[in-house]
Structures are given as structure tokens and as C-alpha cells.
């Protein structure tokens, strides 16, 4: 009986924690615009994203938790008879860290030895939200008679959080930072 009571209390505590964020910022990831262009027979992409972290995620960042933002780019071939076919996928991982010694925010891109330091978070998020000249694919790889679309989505990677935090993050709106899917024509 005590076990079930304990379980009940845990559930209640967990729910309370989830409900307690009602008055705090829940954050928002929104892809405002995306535009492709052709340059030297290769398609490129410019994206403007509004990254707004939730209070809880900012608190976690300031307490030494790294946040991983993922930008996923899919190129899909439109098909009238079936669902669209995905022909290429690119995923960009950006890790946000806070350095308490310098009081700076650092962002680095996974698999690329590039680090950017920012004095404040909003500067970092503004800079990060302006994706420029992202290479997509060669034009020759595409069929000219076929129309293609670029499908975009960006989100906070919960799986990159410490395991103990994930249990809460799976169920918390503050941690469920994900943009809507944004589609733009590949042209």
C-alpha cells in the first residue's frame, strides 16, 4: 500500500512540477523564413529562425547543462500518387554552453571545429538563428521535370540531455522546444 502511495505522491509531485511552469516562459522555436537559391549549379539555403529558449532551459544552461539544438533539412520529391519521397537529409547539431568564468555563452557545431563566443544569450540565439549559405545539393542530381521541396524543422534534442533530466523533459512543455515543419520550394 505504501508503495502505491509513494507512487501516487511521485506522480503528483511530477504533475505539480509540470504545472508549475504555467507562469514562466515556455520558449518558442519558429522558422520565420527560408529561401533557396542556385549558385554555381548548387543549391544553397538561407534560413531565419527565431530561437527563444524557455526559462527552465536557460536555467539548466546557466547551471552547466549543455543544450543541443538540431536543424534538420530534408529534401523531398513531390509525388501526386503517394506521399513525398525523401531524397536527402542533412542534420546540423549546435551545442550551447555557458562559461561561468568568462560569463560568456559559447556555441559550437558538432563535427566542425568552430566555436563562437557571445557575451549574452540573445546575441547568441540571434546569430544562431541566421543560417546563411547552407549548401544543399548539386542541381545535376535533380530531375528538372520534377518539383522538389525543402522540409525544415529545428528542435531541442532531449536525448542529448543528461539521462536523469530526460525523464522530466519527455513530459515537460518547457523542454519540448520544437518548431513546426517549414516547407519551401527548391528553386
Amino acid at each position: 500500500m505504501r508503495v502505491f502511495l509513494l507512487y501516487f505522491y511521485l506522480t503528483m509531485a511530477f504533475s505539480a512540477q509540470v504545472l508549475a511552469i504555467e507562469n514562466t516562459s515556455e520558449g518558442l522555436f519558429e522558422i520565420k523564413s527560408a529561401k533557396t537559391y542556385l549558385q554555381d549549379h548548387r543549391y544553397f539555403l538561407n534560413i531565419d529562425v527565431n530561437y527563444e529558449l524557455s526559462d527552465e532551459s536557460i536555467r539548466a544552461l546557466k547551471n552547466g547543462i549543455s543544450l543541443t539544438l538540431i536543424l534538420q533539412i530534408d529534401i523531398v520529391k513531390e509525388r501526386w500518387y503517394l506521399w513525398n519521397e525523401k531524397i536527402a537529409t542533412s542534420t546540423y547539431h549546435y551545442i550551447l554552453r555557458y562559461h561561468p568564468l568568462s560569463n560568456y555563452y559559447v556555441v559550437s557545431q558538432v563535427n566542425q571545429n568552430r566555436t563562437y563566443v557571445f557575451a549574452n544569450l540573445s546575441e547568441l540565439l540571434t546569430t544562431l538563428g541566421s543560417f546563411r549559405e547552407i549548401p544543399l545539393l548539386e542541381k545535376s542530381l535533380l530531375n528538372e521535370d520534377q518539383s522538389y521541396q525543402v522540409r525544415l524543422q529545428t528542435y531541442l534534442d532531449i536525448e542529448a540531455l543528461p539521462p536523469s533530466l530526460r525523464t522530466i523533459a519527455y513530459f515537460s512543455r518547457e523542454w519540448r522546444l520544437i518548431s513546426d515543419v517549414f516547407n519551401c520550394a527548391l528553386e
Binding site: L6, N63, H99, P100, L101, V117, E159, P162, P163, S164
Partner: protein, 710 residues
């Protein structure tokens, strides 16, 4: 069996998989990178696995509850054992869970101390203060270099930068034209790799003409970046320039500062995560506890079923034995006390089965003997009755029914003495038997006569007591033979022998005696004087007369003893009687005749009628009146005809009534005394009975009872 093993192994596999999953989950929480990516999968798998086991247990509980309600053997015991085992296993788990939860909370809370936090914060502040001097130094150096560069042409800036970089130990020096966004000159010990972010045309200084900051560079350590604005005065049009200088922080300071930052970071990280860590540890601990509880419950089910199985088998076996199934054998799974009990049960059922088979064989033998006995009894000519201690009829054979002329099937199980009143033959038998049944004599024998369906019958009864075999008291056996024909034959043979001897010993000498007397008379009657002649005449006449009389007597006796073949034919008795009565004067004879058919020899029957009518006429020579009547009667199943000849004579004395039909018993002075004996003999040959009784007013009546032809 295979399915059962498969189910058991699958369940075991599920438990092992769950345990492994929970171990991996716990490992992940300990910051193990091995299973980190599987955290959600493990959590989901564990939850679903536990849910599956929970559902299985609920189904088992429901099934057990249903079995208890249906009263299945062993269900209640299984339920009790499951509850007992579950309580025994779950209680310590809950206690351990409670204390473990408290321990985890306590341990996690103990990690965090405000003094440590304060110390770390102070260390961080100290590090910042130490670095601040570096920042100021870097800024001063940069301003000094900028002062040197302000008077130089752009082409000379590079060489000056190289010189200044060597003097100031800068890692990188860069001159940047902010209005055009282009780099004028750069000097670096590792070109293109250091500056994490170079200013462009959008770059703005936070302060009016300088900016200094710490720049951690991955893999290189900590650097100080100083940006100073200056005016390039050597040009005709003074232009704004930015000097960006990067100085490496001393390695000791950098290492220590990094260490302080790293540890502070870790501490803050842990402090931030401690509530979620508690939740996660509690969750995993709860999952482990649930797994343990469910495993214990499941194990309780398995153990209880294993324990109860032989008992349930025993109960089912007992029910089977109670229902008469002695072939039931219970499998022995273990050689323990229960196994010994099961083996004993199997031995018991085996012995019961052997006893039953033996009893069955005995019953079969008894039935065979009974059948044999019934067949023998059915083929016996003697009637057999067996009575129990209460004189109830237990058994009879066909011959008994045939002799008595009644069906005995309905009387079985009923007291013989009570049934007697309904049946005349049985009544006669009972009168004789009753005396012997109540006597102490073991064996008895008696002869009796009754008039039944087949007419008059003489039975020779023998009786014996039967041993008390079945606890129903001492029984009785009555065997009777119909000796009517035998007696008749014996009597005929005896009288025949007498007649033969009379003929041989008496009749043969009579002829020479008569011839001699006639010769004497013929030879000497004429020669003898009158007186002697008269004497001779009288004597010879007497001799001849007596010889004739003796001859007549012998002939009559021969007639009585003779046993001519009786030819029995169905005939109407009234017709025969009318034919005979027509020979007598009508004024003498009155008749009241019913038409009835009997099976008889017409000639012999006429002889009977003549004899009886002659006696009746002679009983009142002066004014004879004879009444002849034929009536039919029915007693139980026997139908018979009664022929009554009444005279108006003097009647018969009571002492002669019993023997009037015996040979040489007569009330007349004349006659052989064989007339009524011959009549009785003929009537008995017809299966009839004859007796004489005095009329209420005067005279006597001869009554003849004959069976009606069927």
C-alpha cells in the same frame, strides 16, 4: 507439457530481460555513456514489460478467483499459499524499498553543501579577479600597439604587427577596417585558426573605443581578446581601424581557472540535476521494486501451484474413486512426503480395483452359478420353492408354477402365508408346510392332495432348512413332486398284480371245479336215490353257483384292475349325461345341466354315470328320485365342472363316507364292492376328484369335479 515448459521459459526470459533493462537503466543514471542513447527505449521497455507481467498476474488472480468460486479442487489452498508467499516476499521488499528511497534522498541531499557552494563561488570570483589583471594588461598592450600603428601606412602595418606580436607575446594581432569589413593586416602564430569570431562590418564595440574579453578556445586553452579602436592618421583621410589582439593566458592561471570553472560547472550541474536525479533514481528504484514484487507474486503463483498440484491431483483422484473410477492413477512428480502420499493413493486405488475386479469375477461366477441353477431348476420336473427367514418367497421354478397352476412371479418377496389365501393350491400347500416350517426338524416329507387347474393332484412334499448365508434368517427349501400319475400307476400295477394272481390262483381252478361239479351232477344225479340226488343236486348247484359267483367276482376285479388305454377327447359333458339319463325313466331323473366341454373318454365316462345312477336307484328301490346337475365354477385361475348326482335314499353313515370309494366297501348286501372303486379310479384317471356327502334333508350326493377343457 511442451507448451507449459515454453510458457515458463518465456516468462523467465521476460523477467531476465526486464532485470537487464533495469540494470542498464540504472547504469545510464550513473552517467554511463554506453546505454545513454537507449534510455527512453529501456524506460519504455521496462514499463511495458512490468505492465505485461502485471496484466498476467491480474489474469492469474482472476483465474484463481474464478476457480475458488467454482470450487475447483485445491483452488482455495492455492489462493492461501499465493497470499502467504506474496506477503512473505513483498513485505521485506517494501521495507528495503522504503529505506532505499530514504537513503537515496539523504545521499543526494548530502552532496550539496552551502559552504562548498560558497567556496566554489569564491574560487570562481578569485579566478575572475586574477584574470581581470590579465585583461587590463592585454588592453594596455593593445592600446600601446594601436598607438604605434596609428602613424603607419597600411602597407607597413603587417611588419609592425609581427614585431609587436613578438614583443608582447600576443597569439594573434589583426587590424580590421570596420567600414569596409576587410582585414588590413594579420599576424598570428597559427594563421586562421585562433580567432573564434572575427569582427565584420556589423561589429560594434560594447564600449566606445575598446572591448576586452576572455575567449576560451577549444583545445588551446584560455585567451584574452582585446579590441581597440584607433584612427589611422598616416592616410590622407584618417580612417577608423580596429586592432584585435589575442593573448594567451598563462598556462598555470588558465589551467587553474579552467579547473575552477570545470568544478564549479560540475557542482552547479549536479545541484541543478539533483531533484531530477532523485526522481529518476526513485523511478528506477520503484521499477525495480515493482519487478521484485511482481516477480515474487508470480513466483508465489508458480510455487503455490507446484505445491498444490499433487494435492489437487489427490482430490481429483478421490472424487474419481468416489465416482467409481478405480483406474485413476496420479503421476508422482517428487519423491517427498506428498509423493509418498500419492504413491499410497495409487496403491490404494490399485488394491480397490483388484478387489472390485475380484468381486466382479465372484459376482460373475455367482451369476453363472445362479443361471446354471435356474436352468437346472427350470428343467426339473419337481417344483422348488425357497423361502427366507420371514417365509417370504425368494425363488421358484417353472415346474412349481406348472404343478401348482399359478404364477409365482407376483408372489416373490411376499410372505407365503399371506399369499396362500388367494390361491387354493397354495392354501393346501401352506396348510401342510406351515407346521413343518415352524418346527425344529431339519428335514420333513409329507404327501398332500389338492384340486387345481389340472384337476386332482397328489404332491409329495419335502422340505429342508437352508443356512443363513445373507443375514436374512434361516431359509427354507420346499421341493414337491406331482406323484398323481405315479400313484395311479402304482395302484394300477398293484391291482393288476392282484388281478393276475386271482386269475392265476383262483380263476384257473374254478373251471375244473365247475366242470367236476357238473360231471358229478350229470353222472350221479340220475343214479342216486331221490334224497341223495336232491342233496347232490343242491350241493353241485351251490358249487356251480359259488364258482360262477367267484368267477364273476374275479372278472369284476379284473375289470377294475384292467388299465385299458384311455382315449381323451374334448366332448360336451351335458351331452354325454343326457345320453345316459335318457336310458332311465324320466319321472325318476331330473336334470339341470349346463353346457360345458371337458376332455374325457366318453365310454369310461358313461361307465361312471351308469355305476353312480345304478347305486342311486338302488338306494331307494321304492320311489327313487335322482337329480343330476352340471355346474361350472372358477377358483382363482382354475375352472372346473361339478357334476352332482343326488338321490333320495337313506344316505351314508359318517364313518363310511371316508372309505366308500375303496374297493370292497359297500352298503349293499349284493355286489362286488368294486363299483364305486372303479368309478373313483376312472375319475382320477381323468384328473378329477370324487366324493360323497349326505344331503341336508335326505339321501346322499355323489359329486364329481372335472377340469374344464381349455
Amino acid at each position: 507439457m511442451l507448451r507449459k515448459h515454453l510458457r515458463m521459459w518465456l516468462t523467465l526470459l521476460l523477467f531476465v530481460a526486464l532485470l537487464t533493462s533495469l540494470l542498464m537503466l540504472a547504469n545510464v543514471l550513473e552517467d554511463s555513456a554506453r546505454f545513454e542513447h537507449l534510455y527512453l527505449t529501456l524506460l519504455t521497455m521496462s514499463s511495458f514489460g512490468l505492465l505485461t507481467i502485471g496484466i498476467l498476474i491480474v489474469l492469474n488472480v482472476h483465474d484463481l478467483f474464478r476457480q475458488v468460486r467454482k470450487g475447483r479442487p485445491g483452488a482455495r489452498l492455492t489462493a492461501r499459499l499465493v497470499i502467504l508467499f506474496a506477503i512473505l516476499a513483498i513485505t521485506p521488499v517494501l521495507v528495503v524499498f522504503y529505506f532505499s528511497l530514504g537513503f537515496i534522498n539523504q545521499r543526494l541531499e548530502s552532496w550539496f553543501d552551502t559552504q562548498i557552494e560558497q567556496a566554489l563561488s569564491s574560487a570562481l570570483q578569485l579566478s575572475r579577479a586574477a584574470l581581470d589583471s590579465n585583461l587590463r594588461d592585454a588592453l594596455n598592450k593593445t592600446r600601446k600597439i594601436a598607438g604605434q600603428l596609428a602613424s603607419l601606412e597600411d602597407q607597413l602595418v603587417v611588419s609592425e604587427l609581427n614585431a609587436q606580436r613578438s614583443q608582447t607575446n600576443a597569439a594573434e594581432l589583426l587590424v580590421f577596417a570596420p567600414n569596409r569589413g576587410e582585414i588590413i593586416a594579420i599576424s598570428s602564430d597559427e594563421t586562421g585558426k585562433l580567432l573564434p569570431k572575427r569582427p565584420d562590418k556589423t561589429f560594434k564595440l560594447r564600449h566606445q573605443d575598446y572591448q576586452v574579453s576572455l575567449q576560451p578556445i577549444t583545445g588551446r586553452g584560455l585567451f584574452v581578446q582585446a579590441i581597440v579602436r584607433y584612427q589611422a592618421s598616416a592616410r590622407p583621410d584618417p580612417t577608423e581601424r580596429f586592432l584585435v589582439a589575442l593573448f594567451a593566458v598563462a598556462s598555470e592561471i588558465s589551467t587553474l581557472a579552467n579547473d575552477v570553472e570545470h568544478r564549479t560547472n560540475n557542482y552547479q550541474r549536479l545541484a541543478y540535476l539533483h531533484s531530477s536525479l532523485k526522481t529518476s533514481f526513485s523511478l528506477v528504484l520503484s521499477l525495480v521494486m515493482l519487478l521484485t514484487v511482481l516477480s515474487a507474486t508470480w513466483a508465489a503463483f508458480v510455487a503455490a501451484r507446484q505445491l498444490v498440484k499433487p494435492i489437487r491431483n489427490l482430490v481429483e483422484g478421490t472424487h474419481a474413486v468416489a465416482d467409481g473410477n478405480y483406474d485413476k492413477q496420479i503421476p508422482i512428480s517428487h519423491l517427498d512426503e506428498l509423493g509418498f502420499l500419492v504413491e499410497s493413493f495409487n496403491q490404494m486405488t490399485r488394491k480397490i480395483r483388484e478387489a472390485r475386479d475380484s468381486a466382479y469375477r465372484s459376482q460373475r461366477r455367482a451369476d453363472a452359478q445362479l443361471t446354471y441353477l435356474e436352468i437346472v431348476l427350470a428343467r426339473m420336473s419337481s417344483g422348488v420353492l425357497s423361502l427366507d427367514g420371514e417365509f417370504c418367497l425368494r425363488m421358484s421354478n417353472e415346474a412349481a408354477e406348472h404343478i401348482l397352476g399359478i404364477s409365482l412371479a407376483d408372489l416373490k418377496g411376499k410372505p407365503l402365508m399371506e399369499s396362500c389365501a388367494e390361491y387354493v393350491p397354495l392354501q393346501t400347500l401352506c396348510d401342510v408346510v406351515a407346521v413343518h416350517l415352524r418346527s425344529e426338524a431339519a428335514d420333513w416329507q409329507e404327501q398332500l392332495t389338492f384340486f387345481g387347474v389340472g384337476g386332482r393332484k397328489v404332491l409329495l412334499c419335502r422340505g429342508a432348512k437352508l443356512p443363513d448365508l445373507d443375514g436374512q434368517g434361516i431359509g427354507h427349501l420346499i421341493v414337491f413332486d406331482d406323484i398323481t400319475q405315479l400313484l395311479q400307476a402304482q395302484r394300477d400295477a398293484a391291482w393288476g398284480e392282484v388281478a393276475r394272481r386271482l386269475a392265476h390262483e383262483i380263476k384257473n381252478p374254478l373251471t375244473p371245479i365247475r366242470l367236476s361239479a357238473e360231471r358229478l351232477r350229470h353222472k350221479y344225479l340220475a343214479t342216486f336215490p331221490d334224497k341223495e340226488a336232491q342233496t347232490l343236486d343242491r350241493m353241485t348247484h351251490t358249487i356251480i353257483q359259488q364258482v360262477d359267483s367267484m368267477k364273476e367276482m374275479v372278472n369284476a376285479f379284473s375289470e377294475y384292475a384292467r388299465s385299458p388305454q384311455i382315449i381323451m377327447k374334448p366332448l360336451f359333458l351335458d351331452k354325454i349325461v343326457n345320453e345316459v339319463l335318457d336310458l332311465y325313466p324320466s319321472k325318476v331323473v331330473q336334470r339341470q345341466l349346463e353346457t360345458v366341454q371337458v376332455e374325457a373318454d366318453a365310454g369310461r365316462l358313461r361307465q361312471v354315470l351308469h355305476n353312480v345312477l345304478k347305486n342311486a336307484l338302488e338306494s331307494n328301490p321304492i320311489d327313487p328320485k335322482i337329480t343330476v346337475s352340471i355346474t361350472t365354477h372358477e377358483e382363482n385361475t382354475a375352472r372346473f365342472v361339478e357334476l352332482k348326482i343326488q338321490d333320495n335314499g337313506h344316505g351314508i353313515s359318517e364313518e363310511m363316507l371316508g372309505s366308500i370309494f375303496e374297493p370292497y366297501v359297500t352298503t349293499k348286501t349284493k355286489g362286488t364292492g368294486l363299483g364305486l372303486a372303479i368309478v373313483k379310479k376312472i375319475i382320477e384317471e381323468h384328473g378329477g376328484i370324487i366324493w360323497m356327502e349326505n344331503n341336508p334333508d335326505s339321501g346322499a350326493s355323489v359329486i364329481i369335479k372335472l377340469p374344464v377343457y381349455r
